[in-house]
């Protein structure tokens, strides 16, 4: 079972990507955690270390997939 983490910040682009992830990612193969960096800012450093540059982003097995562009991590940090 792979660990998938979806980082977002509540933006429209993020919500749209989140629906796709929740609908179509194979639940038999992955456990998906949804992390809202706006309400959970203490996870921002972790996201940065993983290589997340913007949200929404999906991290699976250490690989980062930026899905469209909602906001840069810099802007999420404010």
């Amino acid at each position: 079972m792979s660990q998938a983490t979806f980082y977002h910040a509540g933006c429209t682009v993020c919500v749209d990507a989140e629906q796709m992830i929740l609908n179509y990612l194979d639940k038999a193969k992955t456990t998906t955690e949804i992390v809202h960096l706006g309400t959970d800012p203490n996870r921002i450093t972790e996201a940065e270390k993983l290589g997340v540059e913007s949200v929404p982003a999906l991290v699976i097995d250490g690989n980062v997939y930026h899905i469209n562009f909602g906001a840069s991590l810099k802007d999420v940090k404010g």
Copy 2:
């Protein structure tokens, strides 16, 4: 069953994203077609109409998800 189309152009970023799509997209919910726009350039117009701006990109139910950035569609057209 949803139709998913993954457009790419053979680049390293594309191949990496393709592996993730093939591994983790739920095959019980989607039928996935892989389209290589480099070897199948007659599909470029279709991709453009769907809203694909760069590859790799995944289109599900009419929604376009650009996954990281490999090349712009303009560059793929050459």
